[in-house]
Protein backbone atom coordinates (compact mmCIF):
# COMPACT_ATOMS: atom_id res chain seq x y z
CA UNK A 1 0.00 0.00 0.00
CA UNK A 2 2.75 2.44 0.99
CA UNK A 3 6.32 1.86 -0.10
CA UNK A 4 9.32 4.06 0.60
CA UNK A 5 12.61 3.40 -1.23
CA UNK A 6 15.84 5.05 -0.14
CA UNK A 7 14.05 8.18 1.01
CA UNK A 8 16.26 11.02 2.20
CA UNK A 9 15.17 14.37 3.53
CA UNK A 10 17.31 17.34 4.45
CA UNK A 11 16.42 20.61 6.14
CA UNK A 12 18.45 23.76 5.32
CA UNK A 13 20.25 21.82 2.60
CA UNK A 14 23.56 23.38 1.60
CA UNK A 15 23.62 25.64 4.65
CA UNK A 16 25.99 25.24 7.61
CA UNK A 17 23.02 24.26 9.78
CA UNK A 18 21.98 21.42 7.41
CA UNK A 19 20.01 18.61 9.06
CA UNK A 20 19.75 15.15 7.53
CA UNK A 21 16.23 14.45 8.79
CA UNK A 22 15.61 11.09 7.06
CA UNK A 23 18.35 8.70 6.00
CA UNK A 24 17.80 6.02 3.36
CA UNK A 25 14.35 5.06 4.58
CA UNK A 26 13.06 1.79 3.12
CA UNK A 27 9.65 0.83 4.39
CA UNK A 28 6.50 -1.03 3.36
CA UNK A 29 3.13 -0.55 4.98
CA UNK A 30 0.24 -2.84 4.09
CA UNK A 31 -3.49 -2.07 4.11
CA UNK A 32 -5.14 -2.17 7.52
CA UNK A 33 -1.97 -1.63 9.52
CA UNK A 34 -2.00 -0.02 12.97
CA UNK A 35 1.56 1.24 13.17
CA UNK A 36 3.60 3.63 15.25
CA UNK A 37 6.67 5.61 14.22
CA UNK A 38 8.48 5.95 17.50
CA UNK A 39 11.72 7.34 18.78
CA UNK A 40 13.07 10.23 20.73
CA UNK A 41 12.26 13.88 19.96
CA UNK A 42 13.86 15.06 16.71
CA UNK A 43 14.46 11.53 15.40
CA UNK A 44 12.43 12.20 12.23
CA UNK A 45 9.13 10.44 12.96
CA UNK A 46 6.95 13.48 12.22
CA UNK A 47 8.97 14.23 9.07
CA UNK A 48 8.40 10.64 7.92
CA UNK A 49 4.67 10.97 8.63
CA UNK A 50 4.52 14.27 6.73
CA UNK A 51 6.28 12.78 3.72
CA UNK A 52 3.95 9.78 3.65
CA UNK A 53 1.04 12.22 4.02
CA UNK A 54 2.18 14.27 0.99
CA UNK A 55 2.48 17.30 3.23
CA UNK A 56 6.21 17.45 2.55
CA UNK A 57 8.50 16.24 -0.21
CA UNK A 58 11.69 14.20 -0.03
CA UNK A 59 15.06 15.16 -1.52
CA UNK A 60 15.83 11.73 -2.90
CA UNK A 61 14.22 8.32 -3.11
CA UNK A 62 10.76 7.17 -4.12
CA UNK A 63 7.45 7.08 -2.28
CA UNK A 64 4.65 4.91 -3.62
CA UNK A 65 1.04 5.05 -2.53
CA UNK A 66 -1.06 2.28 -4.09
CA UNK A 67 1.80 1.72 -6.57
CA UNK A 68 1.66 5.36 -7.65
CA UNK A 69 4.80 7.43 -7.14
CA UNK A 70 3.82 10.53 -5.16
CA UNK A 71 7.21 12.10 -4.41
CA UNK A 72 7.30 14.08 -7.64
CA UNK A 73 3.72 15.41 -7.54
CA UNK A 74 3.16 19.15 -7.66
CA UNK A 75 1.41 21.02 -4.82
CA UNK A 76 -2.02 20.87 -6.47
CA UNK A 77 -1.85 17.12 -7.02
CA UNK A 78 -0.57 16.54 -3.51
CA UNK A 79 -3.57 18.47 -2.13
CA UNK A 80 -5.90 16.30 -4.23
CA UNK A 81 -4.12 13.18 -2.99
CA UNK A 82 -4.46 14.25 0.64
CA UNK A 83 -8.14 14.97 0.10
CA UNK A 84 -8.99 11.68 -1.56
CA UNK A 85 -6.69 9.15 0.05
CA UNK A 86 -5.59 10.41 3.45
CA UNK A 87 -6.96 11.53 6.77
CA UNK A 88 -5.09 13.60 9.35
CA UNK A 89 -5.26 13.90 13.12
CA UNK A 90 -3.11 16.62 14.63
CA UNK A 91 -1.83 17.15 18.11
CA UNK A 92 -3.73 20.44 18.54
CA UNK A 93 -7.07 19.08 17.12
CA UNK A 94 -7.24 21.92 14.58
CA UNK A 95 -10.97 22.07 14.16
CA UNK A 96 -12.57 24.94 12.27
CA UNK A 97 -13.85 27.24 15.01
CA UNK A 98 -16.85 28.71 13.14
CA UNK A 99 -18.27 25.31 12.19
CA UNK A 100 -20.13 23.09 14.64
CA UNK A 101 -19.16 19.48 15.34
CA UNK A 102 -21.42 18.10 12.61
CA UNK A 103 -19.99 20.50 10.04
CA UNK A 104 -16.41 19.85 11.15
CA UNK A 105 -16.85 16.08 10.84
CA UNK A 106 -18.45 16.46 7.42
CA UNK A 107 -15.85 19.02 6.24
CA UNK A 108 -13.65 16.65 4.21
CA UNK A 109 -16.70 14.86 2.84
CA UNK A 110 -18.06 18.19 1.60
CA UNK A 111 -14.73 18.95 -0.06
CA UNK A 112 -14.94 15.60 -1.77
CA UNK A 113 -18.45 16.31 -3.05
CA UNK A 114 -20.52 13.82 -1.07
CA UNK A 115 -24.26 14.51 -1.06
CA UNK A 116 -25.98 16.11 1.94
CA UNK A 117 -27.74 12.83 2.70
CA UNK A 118 -24.52 10.79 2.60
CA UNK A 119 -22.77 13.33 4.81
CA UNK A 120 -25.54 13.42 7.38
CA UNK A 121 -25.73 9.62 7.57
CA UNK A 122 -21.96 9.11 7.79
CA UNK A 123 -21.41 11.94 10.30
CA UNK A 124 -24.00 10.39 12.61
CA UNK A 125 -22.46 6.95 12.17
CA UNK A 126 -18.93 8.12 13.01
CA UNK A 127 -20.07 10.45 15.78
CA UNK A 128 -21.98 7.57 17.41
CA UNK A 129 -18.92 5.34 17.17
CA UNK A 130 -16.79 8.04 18.79
CA UNK A 131 -19.52 8.90 21.32
CA UNK A 132 -19.91 12.53 20.33
CA UNK A 133 -23.32 12.19 18.69
CA UNK A 134 -24.86 14.31 21.48
CA UNK A 135 -22.51 17.20 20.65
CA UNK A 136 -23.22 17.56 16.93
CA UNK A 137 -24.57 21.11 17.16
CA UNK A 138 -21.89 22.36 19.56
CA UNK A 139 -19.07 24.62 18.49
CA UNK A 140 -15.52 23.31 19.10
CA UNK A 141 -14.82 25.83 21.85
CA UNK A 142 -17.66 24.32 23.88
CA UNK A 143 -15.97 20.90 23.97
CA UNK A 144 -13.31 19.40 26.20
CA UNK A 145 -9.88 18.52 24.78
CA UNK A 146 -10.80 14.84 24.57
CA UNK A 147 -14.05 15.61 22.78
CA UNK A 148 -12.28 17.92 20.34
CA UNK A 149 -9.72 15.25 19.52
CA UNK A 150 -12.54 12.76 18.91
CA UNK A 151 -14.11 15.25 16.51
CA UNK A 152 -10.74 15.54 14.77
CA UNK A 153 -10.58 11.74 14.47
CA UNK A 154 -14.16 11.67 13.23
CA UNK A 155 -13.30 14.28 10.57
CA UNK A 156 -10.31 12.22 9.50
CA UNK A 157 -12.23 8.99 9.24
CA UNK A 158 -15.62 10.23 7.94
CA UNK A 159 -14.65 10.40 4.27
CA UNK A 160 -13.29 6.83 4.48
CA UNK A 161 -9.66 7.51 3.62
CA UNK A 162 -7.34 4.60 3.01
CA UNK A 163 -4.82 5.85 5.56
CA UNK A 164 -5.05 8.02 8.66
CA UNK A 165 -1.93 9.80 9.82
CA UNK A 166 -1.99 10.83 13.46
CA UNK A 167 0.80 13.02 14.79
CA UNK A 168 1.00 12.98 18.59
CA UNK A 169 -2.81 12.62 18.90
CA UNK A 170 -2.67 12.06 22.66
CA UNK A 171 -0.12 14.76 23.51
CA UNK A 172 -2.75 17.19 24.76
CA UNK A 173 -4.98 14.61 26.44
CA UNK A 174 -4.99 13.19 29.95
CA UNK A 175 -4.42 9.46 30.36
CA UNK A 176 -8.11 8.61 30.59
CA UNK A 177 -9.01 10.47 27.41
CA UNK A 178 -5.91 9.06 25.71
CA UNK A 179 -7.09 5.52 26.50
CA UNK A 180 -10.59 6.24 25.23
CA UNK A 181 -9.20 7.74 22.03
CA UNK A 182 -6.82 4.85 21.37
CA UNK A 183 -9.58 2.30 21.95
CA UNK A 184 -11.75 4.14 19.48
CA UNK A 185 -9.00 4.37 16.89
CA UNK A 186 -8.29 0.68 17.25
CA UNK A 187 -12.00 -0.01 16.80
CA UNK A 188 -12.03 2.15 13.68
CA UNK A 189 -9.01 0.30 12.35
CA UNK A 190 -10.68 -3.03 12.92
CA UNK A 191 -14.23 -2.10 11.88
CA UNK A 192 -13.49 0.24 8.99
CA UNK A 193 -10.26 -1.45 7.87
CA UNK A 194 -8.49 1.87 7.66
CA UNK A 195 -4.69 1.93 8.05
CA UNK A 196 -3.61 4.18 10.90
CA UNK A 197 -0.04 5.45 11.27
CA UNK A 198 1.02 7.28 14.42
CA UNK A 199 4.02 9.43 15.13
CA UNK A 200 4.40 9.51 18.90
CA UNK A 201 6.49 8.54 21.88
CA UNK A 202 3.44 7.95 24.06
CA UNK A 203 3.72 4.56 25.79
CA UNK A 204 -0.05 4.10 25.63
CA UNK A 205 0.10 4.19 21.85
CA UNK A 206 3.09 1.83 21.86
CA UNK A 207 0.99 -0.64 23.86
CA UNK A 208 -1.97 -0.31 21.48
CA UNK A 209 -0.35 -0.63 18.04
CA UNK A 210 0.51 -3.84 16.19
CA UNK A 211 3.77 -2.60 14.69
CA UNK A 212 6.42 -0.16 15.91
CA UNK A 213 8.96 1.38 13.56
CA UNK A 214 11.67 3.04 15.65
CA UNK A 215 13.76 5.85 14.26
CA UNK A 216 16.97 7.33 15.51
CA UNK A 217 18.70 10.31 13.96
CA UNK A 218 16.59 9.95 10.81
CA UNK A 219 17.23 6.26 10.23
CA UNK A 220 15.06 3.23 10.94
CA UNK A 221 16.78 1.32 13.69
CA UNK A 222 14.07 -1.16 14.58
CA UNK A 223 10.86 -2.52 13.02
CA UNK A 224 8.84 -4.85 15.25
CA UNK A 225 5.48 -6.54 14.76
CA UNK A 226 3.74 -6.85 18.15
Amino acid sequence: MIKLQNVNKYFFKGEPREVHALRDINLSIEAGEFTLFGGSSGCGKTTLLNIIGALDSCDSGKIYLQDKEIGSLDEESRTTLRLNELGFVFQAYNLIPVLNVEENIGFVMRLRGFSDKEIKQRVLEVATLLEIDNKLKSLPNALSGGQQQRVAVARAVAAKPKIILADEPTANLDSNNSKILMNMMRELNEKEGVSILFASHDELIMESVRRIVTLNDGAIVDDNEM
Binding site: L55, T80, G87, F88, A92, I96, P97, F107, V108
Partner: protein
Protein backbone atom coordinates in the same frame (compact mmCIF):
# COMPACT_ATOMS: atom_id res chain seq x y z
CA UNK B 1 -19.09 22.45 -1.62
CA UNK B 2 -19.98 26.04 -2.51
CA UNK B 3 -22.59 26.00 0.24
CA UNK B 4 -19.81 25.16 2.70
CA UNK B 5 -17.58 27.94 1.38
CA UNK B 6 -20.44 30.42 1.57
CA UNK B 7 -21.18 29.34 5.13
CA UNK B 8 -17.51 29.68 6.12
CA UNK B 9 -17.33 33.12 4.50
CA UNK B 10 -20.50 34.32 6.20
CA UNK B 11 -19.54 33.03 9.65
CA UNK B 12 -15.96 34.29 9.41
CA UNK B 13 -17.18 37.73 8.33
CA UNK B 14 -18.74 38.05 11.76
CA UNK B 15 -16.06 36.27 13.74
CA UNK B 16 -14.90 39.64 15.07
CA UNK B 17 -18.33 41.24 15.11
CA UNK B 18 -17.43 44.69 16.42
CA UNK B 19 -14.56 45.06 13.94
CA UNK B 20 -16.77 44.04 11.01
CA UNK B 21 -19.61 46.30 12.16
CA UNK B 22 -17.22 49.20 12.49
CA UNK B 23 -16.11 48.78 8.86
CA UNK B 24 -19.70 48.39 7.68
CA UNK B 25 -20.63 51.62 9.50
CA UNK B 26 -17.57 53.35 8.04
CA UNK B 27 -18.54 52.28 4.51
CA UNK B 28 -22.18 53.22 5.08
CA UNK B 29 -21.46 56.68 6.46
CA UNK B 30 -18.80 57.61 3.89
CA UNK B 31 -20.92 56.23 1.05
CA UNK B 32 -24.06 58.07 2.14
CA UNK B 33 -22.09 61.31 2.45
CA UNK B 34 -20.64 60.74 -1.00
CA UNK B 35 -24.12 60.11 -2.44
CA UNK B 36 -25.40 63.30 -0.80
CA UNK B 37 -22.48 65.32 -2.18
CA UNK B 38 -22.98 63.81 -5.66
CA UNK B 39 -26.69 64.61 -5.48
CA UNK B 40 -26.05 68.19 -4.35
CA UNK B 41 -23.40 68.83 -7.01
CA UNK B 42 -25.61 67.42 -9.74
CA UNK B 43 -28.63 69.20 -8.29
CA UNK B 44 -26.79 72.54 -8.46
CA UNK B 45 -25.91 72.08 -12.10
CA UNK B 46 -29.23 70.58 -13.12
CA UNK B 47 -31.09 73.38 -11.38
CA UNK B 48 -28.98 75.91 -13.24
CA UNK B 49 -29.49 74.09 -16.55
CA UNK B 50 -33.21 73.75 -15.95
CA UNK B 51 -33.73 77.42 -15.09
CA UNK B 52 -31.62 78.56 -18.03
CA UNK B 53 -33.59 76.36 -20.38
CA UNK B 54 -36.92 77.48 -18.99
CA UNK B 55 -36.13 81.17 -18.85
CA UNK B 56 -34.09 81.60 -21.97
CA UNK B 57 -32.62 79.21 -24.48
CA UNK B 58 -34.78 76.10 -24.18
CA UNK B 59 -33.13 72.91 -25.41
CA UNK B 60 -32.61 74.50 -28.81
CA UNK B 61 -32.79 78.11 -29.97
CA UNK B 62 -33.03 79.53 -33.45
CA UNK B 63 -31.79 82.99 -34.47
CA UNK B 64 -31.28 84.82 -37.70
CA UNK B 65 -27.79 84.10 -39.06
CA UNK B 66 -26.16 87.40 -38.02
CA UNK B 67 -28.13 88.15 -34.88
CA UNK B 68 -25.80 86.61 -32.27
CA UNK B 69 -22.87 88.64 -33.64
CA UNK B 70 -24.72 91.87 -34.20
CA UNK B 71 -27.80 92.26 -32.03
CA UNK B 72 -29.51 94.62 -34.43
CA UNK B 73 -33.24 94.81 -35.16
CA UNK B 74 -32.41 94.18 -38.79
CA UNK B 75 -31.47 90.58 -37.98
CA UNK B 76 -34.85 89.16 -37.13
CA UNK B 77 -36.25 85.79 -38.17
CA UNK B 78 -38.79 86.53 -40.90
CA UNK B 79 -42.20 84.86 -40.58
CA UNK B 80 -41.21 83.45 -37.21
CA UNK B 81 -44.85 82.63 -36.40
CA UNK B 82 -45.04 80.27 -39.41
CA UNK B 83 -41.76 78.64 -38.45
CA UNK B 84 -43.04 78.25 -34.89
CA UNK B 85 -46.16 76.48 -36.15
CA UNK B 86 -44.00 74.25 -38.34
CA UNK B 87 -41.74 73.30 -35.40
CA UNK B 88 -44.69 72.62 -33.13
CA UNK B 89 -45.74 69.89 -35.55
CA UNK B 90 -42.32 68.26 -35.53
CA UNK B 91 -41.85 65.08 -33.49
CA UNK B 92 -40.03 65.73 -30.21
CA UNK B 93 -40.90 69.42 -29.93
CA UNK B 94 -42.70 69.93 -26.63
CA UNK B 95 -43.06 73.72 -26.48
CA UNK B 96 -42.04 76.64 -28.69
CA UNK B 97 -41.96 80.36 -27.92
CA UNK B 98 -41.09 83.47 -29.88
CA UNK B 99 -39.14 86.31 -28.31
CA UNK B 100 -38.26 89.80 -29.40
CA UNK B 101 -35.28 91.49 -27.80
CA UNK B 102 -33.75 94.92 -27.84
CA UNK B 103 -30.91 96.46 -25.90
CA UNK B 104 -31.22 99.94 -24.44
CA UNK B 105 -31.26 102.07 -21.34
CA UNK B 106 -33.62 101.58 -18.43
CA UNK B 107 -34.03 104.64 -16.22
CA UNK B 108 -35.75 105.84 -13.13
CA UNK B 109 -35.83 109.48 -12.03
CA UNK B 110 -32.43 109.07 -10.38
CA UNK B 111 -30.68 106.04 -11.88
CA UNK B 112 -30.22 104.36 -15.20
CA UNK B 113 -28.70 101.10 -16.35
CA UNK B 114 -28.07 99.08 -19.46
CA UNK B 115 -31.00 96.73 -19.99
CA UNK B 116 -32.26 94.22 -22.43
CA UNK B 117 -35.98 94.32 -23.06
CA UNK B 118 -37.51 90.93 -23.84
CA UNK B 119 -40.89 90.77 -25.50
CA UNK B 120 -42.71 87.61 -24.40
CA UNK B 121 -46.10 85.97 -24.63
CA UNK B 122 -46.86 85.18 -20.99
CA UNK B 123 -49.19 82.28 -21.69
CA UNK B 124 -46.73 80.66 -24.07
CA UNK B 125 -43.87 81.25 -21.60
CA UNK B 126 -45.91 79.57 -18.87
CA UNK B 127 -46.30 76.49 -21.03
CA UNK B 128 -42.68 76.68 -22.10
CA UNK B 129 -40.96 77.17 -18.75
CA UNK B 130 -43.48 77.92 -15.99
CA UNK B 131 -42.43 81.54 -15.98
CA UNK B 132 -44.53 82.32 -12.91
CA UNK B 133 -42.22 80.11 -10.80
CA UNK B 134 -39.48 82.73 -11.18
CA UNK B 135 -41.63 85.31 -9.37
CA UNK B 136 -39.97 86.86 -6.31
CA UNK B 137 -42.25 89.82 -5.73
CA UNK B 138 -45.52 91.25 -7.16
CA UNK B 139 -47.74 89.51 -9.68
CA UNK B 140 -47.12 88.25 -13.19
CA UNK B 141 -48.99 90.75 -15.30
CA UNK B 142 -47.91 92.60 -18.44
CA UNK B 143 -51.19 94.43 -19.11
CA UNK B 144 -51.25 98.20 -19.48
CA UNK B 145 -47.51 98.74 -19.98
CA UNK B 146 -46.67 96.35 -17.19
CA UNK B 147 -43.11 95.11 -16.94
CA UNK B 148 -41.29 92.35 -15.07
CA UNK B 149 -37.75 93.15 -13.99
CA UNK B 150 -34.80 90.87 -13.23
CA UNK B 151 -33.89 90.87 -9.54
CA UNK B 152 -30.36 92.24 -9.88
CA UNK B 153 -31.46 94.96 -12.31
CA UNK B 154 -34.17 95.99 -9.83
CA UNK B 155 -31.51 96.21 -7.10
CA UNK B 156 -29.25 98.30 -9.34
CA UNK B 157 -32.05 100.76 -10.16
CA UNK B 158 -33.52 100.51 -6.67
CA UNK B 159 -36.97 99.83 -8.06
CA UNK B 160 -39.73 97.71 -6.60
CA UNK B 161 -43.23 96.59 -7.50
CA UNK B 162 -45.23 99.70 -8.50
CA UNK B 163 -42.19 101.73 -9.60
CA UNK B 164 -42.26 103.56 -12.88
CA UNK B 165 -39.35 103.12 -15.29
CA UNK B 166 -38.51 104.35 -18.76
CA UNK B 167 -36.90 102.19 -21.39
CA UNK B 168 -35.13 103.94 -24.30
CA UNK B 169 -33.78 102.33 -27.44
CA UNK B 170 -33.45 102.77 -31.17
CA UNK B 171 -36.46 101.56 -33.17
CA UNK B 172 -36.49 99.91 -36.59
CA UNK B 173 -36.39 103.31 -38.31
CA UNK B 174 -33.32 104.39 -36.31
CA UNK B 175 -35.22 106.79 -34.10
CA UNK B 176 -34.51 106.89 -30.35
CA UNK B 177 -37.79 106.11 -28.63
CA UNK B 178 -38.79 105.71 -25.03
CA UNK B 179 -41.59 103.83 -23.34
CA UNK B 180 -42.84 104.29 -19.80
CA UNK B 181 -43.39 101.02 -17.97
CA UNK B 182 -44.81 100.01 -14.61
CA UNK B 183 -42.95 97.38 -12.60
CA UNK B 184 -45.52 94.71 -11.76
CA UNK B 185 -43.16 91.98 -10.64
CA UNK B 186 -39.58 91.12 -9.89
CA UNK B 187 -38.24 87.72 -10.99
CA UNK B 188 -35.22 85.64 -10.20
CA UNK B 189 -34.38 83.19 -12.95
CA UNK B 190 -30.80 82.38 -11.74
CA UNK B 191 -29.85 83.04 -15.35
CA UNK B 192 -27.18 85.64 -14.63
CA UNK B 193 -27.69 87.72 -17.76
CA UNK B 194 -31.48 87.86 -17.37
CA UNK B 195 -31.36 88.66 -13.65
CA UNK B 196 -28.80 91.40 -14.24
CA UNK B 197 -30.32 93.12 -17.22
CA UNK B 198 -33.68 91.79 -18.41
CA UNK B 199 -36.99 93.61 -18.40
CA UNK B 200 -39.87 91.55 -19.74
CA UNK B 201 -42.81 93.19 -21.50
CA UNK B 202 -45.61 91.94 -23.72
CA UNK B 203 -44.31 90.87 -27.14
CA UNK B 204 -46.99 92.76 -29.10
CA UNK B 205 -46.30 95.94 -27.19
CA UNK B 206 -42.58 95.60 -27.92
CA UNK B 207 -43.25 95.04 -31.64
CA UNK B 208 -45.38 98.17 -31.65
CA UNK B 209 -42.73 100.15 -29.75
CA UNK B 210 -39.89 99.00 -32.00
CA UNK B 211 -41.96 99.27 -35.16
CA UNK B 212 -41.14 95.69 -36.12
CA UNK B 213 -43.38 93.24 -37.97
CA UNK B 214 -45.34 91.16 -35.47
CA UNK B 215 -44.69 88.05 -37.60
CA UNK B 216 -40.96 88.35 -36.93
CA UNK B 217 -38.88 87.48 -33.87
CA UNK B 218 -35.28 87.48 -32.67
CA UNK B 219 -35.41 84.06 -31.07
CA UNK B 220 -37.42 80.90 -31.41
CA UNK B 221 -36.82 78.82 -28.27
CA UNK B 222 -37.75 75.15 -28.30
CA UNK B 223 -38.20 72.63 -25.48
CA UNK B 224 -37.68 69.00 -26.48
CA UNK B 225 -34.92 66.60 -25.51
CA UNK B 226 -35.29 64.36 -28.54
CA UNK B 227 -31.74 64.09 -29.87
CA UNK B 228 -32.96 63.83 -33.45
CA UNK B 229 -34.87 67.12 -33.22
CA UNK B 230 -31.70 69.21 -33.31
CA UNK B 231 -30.52 67.47 -36.48
CA UNK B 232 -33.93 67.86 -38.12
CA UNK B 233 -34.02 71.57 -37.30
CA UNK B 234 -30.52 72.07 -38.63
CA UNK B 235 -31.59 70.58 -41.94
CA UNK B 236 -35.01 72.22 -42.08
CA UNK B 237 -33.72 75.71 -41.26
CA UNK B 238 -30.28 75.72 -42.81
CA UNK B 239 -30.65 79.46 -43.54
CA UNK B 240 -31.03 80.17 -39.81
CA UNK B 241 -28.68 79.82 -36.83
CA UNK B 242 -29.83 76.66 -34.96
CA UNK B 243 -28.03 76.20 -31.64
CA UNK B 244 -28.28 73.60 -28.91
CA UNK B 245 -28.40 74.57 -25.24
CA UNK B 246 -24.74 73.73 -24.59
CA UNK B 247 -23.63 75.60 -27.71
CA UNK B 248 -25.36 78.65 -26.35
CA UNK B 249 -24.19 78.15 -22.78
CA UNK B 250 -20.56 76.94 -22.94
CA UNK B 251 -20.06 78.08 -19.35
CA UNK B 252 -22.67 75.63 -18.15
CA UNK B 253 -20.92 72.88 -20.06
CA UNK B 254 -17.73 73.84 -18.21
CA UNK B 255 -19.67 73.87 -14.95
CA UNK B 256 -20.98 70.37 -15.70
CA UNK B 257 -17.43 69.17 -16.43
CA UNK B 258 -16.20 70.78 -13.22
CA UNK B 259 -18.89 69.01 -11.21
CA UNK B 260 -17.96 65.72 -12.85
CA UNK B 261 -14.37 66.32 -11.67
CA UNK B 262 -15.57 67.21 -8.14
CA UNK B 263 -17.75 64.10 -8.06
CA UNK B 264 -14.94 61.89 -9.38
CA UNK B 265 -12.50 63.20 -6.78
CA UNK B 266 -15.03 62.67 -3.98
CA UNK B 267 -15.78 59.22 -5.36
CA UNK B 268 -12.10 58.27 -5.46
CA UNK B 269 -11.47 59.52 -1.92
CA UNK B 270 -14.45 57.60 -0.54
CA UNK B 271 -13.56 54.45 -2.45
CA UNK B 272 -9.99 54.79 -1.16
CA UNK B 273 -11.35 54.90 2.38
CA UNK B 274 -13.57 51.87 1.68
CA UNK B 275 -10.61 50.00 0.18
CA UNK B 276 -8.37 50.75 3.18
CA UNK B 277 -11.17 49.80 5.60
CA UNK B 278 -11.87 46.43 3.99
CA UNK B 279 -8.15 45.81 3.46
CA UNK B 280 -7.43 46.45 7.14
CA UNK B 281 -10.16 44.14 8.37
CA UNK B 282 -9.41 41.38 5.89
CA UNK B 283 -5.66 41.57 6.40
CA UNK B 284 -5.95 41.22 10.17
CA UNK B 285 -8.67 38.60 9.84
CA UNK B 286 -6.57 36.50 7.45
CA UNK B 287 -3.43 36.80 9.57
CA UNK B 288 -5.47 35.71 12.61
CA UNK B 289 -6.50 32.58 10.74
CA UNK B 290 -3.29 31.49 9.03
CA UNK B 291 -3.25 28.29 11.06
CA UNK B 292 -6.86 27.55 10.12
CA UNK B 293 -6.06 27.96 6.43
CA UNK B 294 -2.96 25.79 6.85
CA UNK B 295 -5.10 23.04 8.35
CA UNK B 296 -7.66 23.36 5.58
CA UNK B 297 -4.92 22.98 2.99
CA UNK B 298 -3.39 20.03 4.81
CA UNK B 299 -6.70 18.13 4.94
CA UNK B 300 -7.13 18.64 1.20
CA UNK B 301 -8.82 21.99 0.56
CA UNK B 302 -7.47 23.53 -2.63
CA UNK B 303 -6.13 27.08 -2.60
CA UNK B 304 -8.79 28.18 -5.14
CA UNK B 305 -11.56 27.42 -2.62
CA UNK B 306 -9.76 29.30 0.14
CA UNK B 307 -9.34 32.21 -2.26
CA UNK B 308 -13.05 32.06 -3.06
CA UNK B 309 -13.89 31.99 0.66
CA UNK B 310 -11.75 35.07 1.32
CA UNK B 311 -13.22 36.92 -1.66
CA UNK B 312 -16.71 36.11 -0.39
CA UNK B 313 -15.85 37.31 3.13
CA UNK B 314 -14.64 40.57 1.69
CA UNK B 315 -17.68 40.87 -0.57
CA UNK B 316 -20.04 40.16 2.35
CA UNK B 317 -18.51 43.11 4.24
CA UNK B 318 -18.58 45.27 1.11
CA UNK B 319 -22.18 44.39 0.23
CA UNK B 320 -23.45 44.92 3.78
CA UNK B 321 -21.62 48.25 3.89
CA UNK B 322 -23.07 49.12 0.49
CA UNK B 323 -26.64 48.19 1.45
CA UNK B 324 -26.44 50.21 4.67
CA UNK B 325 -24.86 53.11 2.78
CA UNK B 326 -27.44 52.90 0.00
CA UNK B 327 -30.34 53.03 2.48
CA UNK B 328 -28.76 55.87 4.46
CA UNK B 329 -27.81 57.69 1.24
CA UNK B 330 -31.28 57.28 -0.25
CA UNK B 331 -32.87 58.72 2.91
CA UNK B 332 -30.41 61.62 2.90
CA UNK B 333 -30.90 62.28 -0.82
CA UNK B 334 -34.68 62.11 -0.54
CA UNK B 335 -34.55 64.68 2.27
CA UNK B 336 -32.24 66.94 0.26
CA UNK B 337 -34.37 66.49 -2.84
CA UNK B 338 -37.47 67.69 -0.97
CA UNK B 339 -36.10 70.24 1.48
CA UNK B 340 -32.76 71.13 -0.07
CA UNK B 341 -29.78 72.59 1.71
CA UNK B 342 -30.19 76.21 2.72
CA UNK B 343 -27.11 78.27 1.91
CA UNK B 344 -28.77 81.67 2.32
CA UNK B 345 -25.70 82.93 4.15
CA UNK B 346 -23.85 82.68 0.84
CA UNK B 347 -26.74 83.71 -1.41
CA UNK B 348 -24.92 86.69 -2.98
CA UNK B 349 -21.89 84.63 -3.88
CA UNK B 350 -24.09 81.82 -5.18
CA UNK B 351 -26.21 84.23 -7.23
CA UNK B 352 -23.03 85.53 -8.90
CA UNK B 353 -22.50 82.00 -10.19
CA UNK B 354 -26.13 81.55 -11.06
CA UNK B 355 -27.01 79.27 -8.18
CA UNK B 356 -30.00 79.53 -5.88
CA UNK B 357 -29.59 79.95 -2.14
CA UNK B 358 -31.44 76.71 -1.48
CA UNK B 359 -29.85 73.85 -3.37
CA UNK B 360 -31.88 70.73 -4.02
CA UNK B 361 -30.26 67.36 -4.59
CA UNK B 362 -30.86 65.09 -7.55
CA UNK B 363 -31.25 61.32 -7.23
CA UNK B 364 -29.91 59.14 -10.02
CA UNK B 365 -29.88 55.34 -10.18
CA UNK B 366 -26.35 55.60 -11.57
CA UNK B 367 -25.08 56.85 -8.18
CA UNK B 368 -26.05 53.53 -6.67
CA UNK B 369 -24.97 51.25 -9.53
CA UNK B 370 -21.56 52.91 -9.93
CA UNK B 371 -20.96 52.78 -6.18
CA UNK B 372 -21.94 49.11 -6.08
CA UNK B 373 -19.45 48.34 -8.84
CA UNK B 374 -16.70 50.33 -7.13
CA UNK B 375 -17.32 48.71 -3.73
CA UNK B 376 -17.26 45.26 -5.31
CA UNK B 377 -13.97 46.13 -6.98
CA UNK B 378 -12.57 47.55 -3.72
CA UNK B 379 -13.67 44.39 -1.88
CA UNK B 380 -11.95 42.14 -4.40
CA UNK B 381 -8.74 44.18 -4.73
CA UNK B 382 -8.40 44.66 -0.98
CA UNK B 383 -7.77 40.94 -0.39
CA UNK B 384 -5.19 40.42 -3.11
CA UNK B 385 -2.21 41.14 -0.83
CA UNK B 386 -3.50 38.99 2.08
CA UNK B 387 -4.25 36.21 -0.42
CA UNK B 388 -0.63 36.20 -1.57
CA UNK B 389 0.34 35.33 2.00
CA UNK B 390 -2.04 32.38 2.00
CA UNK B 391 -0.80 31.20 -1.39
CA UNK B 392 2.74 31.05 -0.04
CA UNK B 393 1.55 29.23 3.06
CA UNK B 394 3.29 25.93 3.78
CA UNK B 395 0.94 23.77 5.89
CA UNK B 396 3.96 22.02 7.44
CA UNK B 397 5.14 25.31 8.90
CA UNK B 398 1.72 25.90 10.42
CA UNK B 399 1.56 22.42 11.91
CA UNK B 400 5.11 22.74 13.27
CA UNK B 401 4.35 26.16 14.73
CA UNK B 402 1.39 24.88 16.72
CA UNK B 403 3.45 22.25 18.59
Amino acid sequence: MYKLILKLAWKNSFLRRSRTLLVIIMIAVSMSMMLAIEGIYDGMVENMVDKNKRSDSGDISIFAKEYRINKDLAYMIKNADEIKAQIENMQGAQAVVLRVKAEGLLSTARKSSFASVVGIDLQAEERFGKFSEFLKEGSIDLQKQGAIVGIELAKTLKVGVGSKVVFSTQDIRGEINSIALYVRAIVQTTNISLDNSAIFIDINQLHKFLGTDSKNAMQIAIRGEDKELYGKLKIAFANLDVKSFLELQPMIKQMQDLMIIFNSVTFLIVMGVVFIGIFGVMYVSILDRVREFGIMISVGMHYKYIRLQIFLESIVIGVLGYLSGAVLGAVLLTYLEHYGIDLSAFSDALATWGYEAVIYATIKVSYFTTTLGAIMAASIFSVIIPLRKIKKLNPIEVIKAEK
